[in-house]
């Protein structure tokens, strides 16, 4: 398993845990279970986890498939700098978020899943992985005129081949690159 980037799997697991926390929280809150405020906490924690985990990080090898519409959240997550880049911080954050939800049966599954995600992130951090945002490549605008150093030396309309030989003999002593001397008079016919 030499090539695996554990953070990719941790990311999927954490996203799923967020959704499960939200679901469990809704069940506890809507059913008005005892201590349902823990359910409300679970919804909030689940939303936070989902927002943090939705933008997929860039893989170190190969191209990464972005999730639909993730570029807006990427900008936000990037703002936090090392807090979101470092996977040790993410691992402990997820562990911390998971604990309060463990006190209610409805949300304990979310706790277990998030704890597993935290463990995988810890493994990723130990292996030196980190989160980098997927940025859209700046479009390379074709450089207009960038490669043209000199104007063409023999642009059309060109006289037939015989007439062309004369200017090249004369030009032997004349530096090329100067303005073109048309051997025949040329009219600009554009009105």
């Amino acid at each position: 398993m030499g090539q695996i980037e554990w953070a990719m799997w941790a990311n999927e697991q954490a996203l799923a845990s967020g959704l499960i926390l939200i679901t469990g929280g809704i069940v506890a809150t809507a059913g008005q279970f005892t201590q349902w405020y823990l359910g409300a906490y679970s919804i909030a924690a689940g939303v936070l986890v989902c927002l943090l985990e939705y933008p997929r990080g860039k893989r170190s090898k190969g191209s990464t498939m972005e999730r639909c519409g993730q570029k807006y959240l990427t900008r936000v997550v990037k703002l936090f700098g090392p807090l979101t880049r470092n996977y040790y911080i993410r691992a402990f954050l997820h562990l911390g978020l998971a604990v309060p939800a463990g006190f209610l049966l409805a949300t304990i599954l979310g706790t277990a899943c998030l704890a597993i995600a935290s463990g995988i992130y810890l493994l990723a951090a130990i292996r030196g992985e980190q989160w980098s945002p997927i940025e859209p490549k700046p479009k390379e605008r074709p450089q207009i005129g960038g490669t043209i150093k000199q104007p063409p030396s023999n642009p059309p309309p060109r006289p037939p081949a015989e007439a062309r030989k004369k200017p090249s003999e004369e030009a032997a002593g004349v530096p090329t690159g100067g303005p073109q001397e048309n051997p025949m008079p040329v009219n600009d016919e554009v009105v």
Partner: protein, 533 residues
């Protein structure tokens, strides 16, 4: 429309039947718990609707995924329902509920009574719920197998599957724990109902209103309850047994000796393994599973067979893209320059061949074969087989003309297949029948520098990329033109069109077949066959 029914009809039919059975069983068991008197008091206490998870034999990947999503859905419904169930049952025991439920829950406290509410300890929520979850078999197995299911699902997403196959493969084997847990999940029988004998003495419809009188008046003795036996194992034991048989067969097959007779390295990280196995019989277009214990003791990987049945060996072409293929590359000594002794080659285990044979190809007079990208691999087998049949004048070969289209993005994937086409080209020239196979290779991903290269070498006899006499085309083929040309060259024939490639292309070709076929019984007819290799 007719083509669609022929191609997809059976799958859709099976899926509809399966979905119909799911719906039927859901409704049926809902009514089992909703209607009879046996569960009258159970309903009063809970208002539950039990669900069942069904797993049926899966035929292919799409069906497998659909079953998985159905399991996930039912797991969610089941878990949420039991969350409410546990909460209310615990509340009833700590007097945090309506008097009727509290009274019902009290039954079972006295020595000779059997209980209805499975929660016996009086611990209040939320600790009460958590206590129940860890002390009951249903609770423990429920949490464990749901965790397994979630891990299986998160490691099966496309990103993980494509890039980190080992994680996907090994995590998927958690399904063993899942099914064992599922089978014993109901063993403690916490869903209770009134026993049949008790129903004779105590009729709920008559007695439910005067619960305080139970045991004191004659026609309403205290009711007796018992747990429902587990039912899920009846559904899953059949498929589990079949799966076990399949793995045993794979194990037995893996013990059979497979000898690598030749290893060929092709450019751009492709190797070809030619092997022999006693008693191995294959058809065109099939695939095998391959395991190499030297590289990994547990992993089996599928590969399409690229040899023809007429040959005395079978071969697969492998692209080196990941850990396992890299390991195989080294184990076969492909990175060494000098000749390898046969005994140094690694042991291989082979399971298969699988897949439906595409024998329809041979029954048409004219065929169009279209392979997109990696979808061209089964056509290697088909083309070779057709050539052998043609040379040996096989009686069942009606084929007179093949139009072959290979669409791919870049030239790298070409090489070994181009070698095959070159070989066929030479052989056809020897037999003086260069018209038998006409092929078009369409590069769909060319760029400026390649285009200028081609333009410079346009007039040379052999194609600059493939070395073949027929030139490579750039961009996607103009299917309308192709169909019209072929149709006009073969009037009054049935032309088979075979595709191995993406859905979008299947739609395009299907439409072209329909629009270019003559309506009457005479005239040219294009018949579209989508092969699932």
């Amino acid at each position: 429309m007719g083509n669609w029914v022929v191609n997809e009809g059976i799958s859709i039919f099976v899926i509809l039947v399966w979905l119909g059975m799911n719906v039927f069983l859901f409704v049926w068991y809902y009514r089992v718990y909703d209607i009879p008197d046996k569960f009258f008091y159970t309903r009063k206490l809970l208002g539950c609707c039990s669900t069942r998870i069904r797993r049926q034999l899966d035929r292919n990947l799409t069906f497998h995924k659909m079953v998985a999503w159905m399991i996930a859905l039912h797991t969610a419904i089941h878990t949420i329902a039991h969350l409410f169930n546990v909460e209310w049952c615990v509340n009833a025991r700590v007097n945090n509920s309506d008097p009727y439920s509290i009274a019902l829950s009290d039954i079972g406290d006295k020595p000779n009574e059997t209980y209805l509410n499975f929660v016996r300890q009086r611990i209040k929520n939320p600790e009460g719920g958590l206590y129940v979850a860890v002390t009951r078999l249903a609770g423990i197995t429920g949490v464990v197998i749901t965790l397994c299911l979630i891990l299986i699902i998160t490691s099966s997403t496309k990103t993980i599957r494509r890039s980190y196959f080992e994680v996907f493969w090994y995590t998927h084997h958690l399904f063993v724990i899942f099914f064992i847990g599922l089978a014993i999940h109901g063993a403690q029988r916490i869903v209770r109902g009134q026993t049949a004998e008790s129903l004779l003495k105590h009729q709920p419809r008559n007695c439910y209103q005067n619960i305080s009188q139970w045991g004191k008046i004659e026609n309403c003795p205290i009711p007796e309850f018992s747990g429902n036996p587990p039912m899920t194992w009846k559904w899953i034991v059949g498929p589990m047994f079949l799966y076990l048989c399949e793995r045993l067969v794979r194990f037995w097959r893996s013990q059979q000796k497979v000898v690598i007779t030749k290893v060929v390295t092709h450019p751009f990280k492709t190797i070809e393994l030619q092997m022999k196995k006693k008693g191995f019989k294959m058809e065109v277009g099939q695939y095998i599973f391959v395991k190499c214990p030297v590289v990994s003791k547990l992993e089996w990987h599928p590969f399409t067979l690229t040899s023809a049945p007429e040959e005395d060996f079978f071969s697969i072409h492998i692209r080196i893209v990941g850990d396992w293929t890299e390991g195989l590359f080294k184990a076969c000594g492909c990175d060494k320059q000098e000749f390898q002794d046969a005994w140094k080659l690694p042991k291989i285990a082979v399971d298969g061949p699988f897949g439906t044979a595409s024998e329809d190809v041979f029954s048409y007079e004219v065929v169009m074969l279209v392979g997109a990208g990696i979808g061209v691999t089964p056509f290697a087998s088909i083309l070779k087989s057709v050539w052998y049949k043609y040379c040996n004048k096989a009686p069942n070969l009606r084929l007179k003309k093949i139009y072959f289209y290979w669409l791919c993005r870049d030239t790298h994937a070409f090489e070994w297949f181009a070698d095959l086409l070159q070989l066929l080209e030479t052989q056809m020239q020897e037999k003086n029948n260069t018209d038998f196979l006409s092929y078009n290779i369409c590069l769909t991903g060319w760029d400026e520098s390649q285009a200028s290269h081609f333009a410079m070498h346009h007039d040379e006899e052999k194609d600059v990329i493939t070395g073949l006499k027929q030139k490579t085309l750039y961009g996607r083929p103009n299917w309308d033109n192709e169909f019209k040309t072929i149709g006009s060259q073969h009037p009054n024939t049935r032309i088979g069109v075979f595709l191995c490639g993406p859905e979008a292309l299947a739609d395009t070709l299907n439409k072209q077949c329909i629009s270019n076929s003559d309506s009457g019984p005479r005239g040219v007819h294009f018949i579209f066959n989508k092969e699932n290799f």
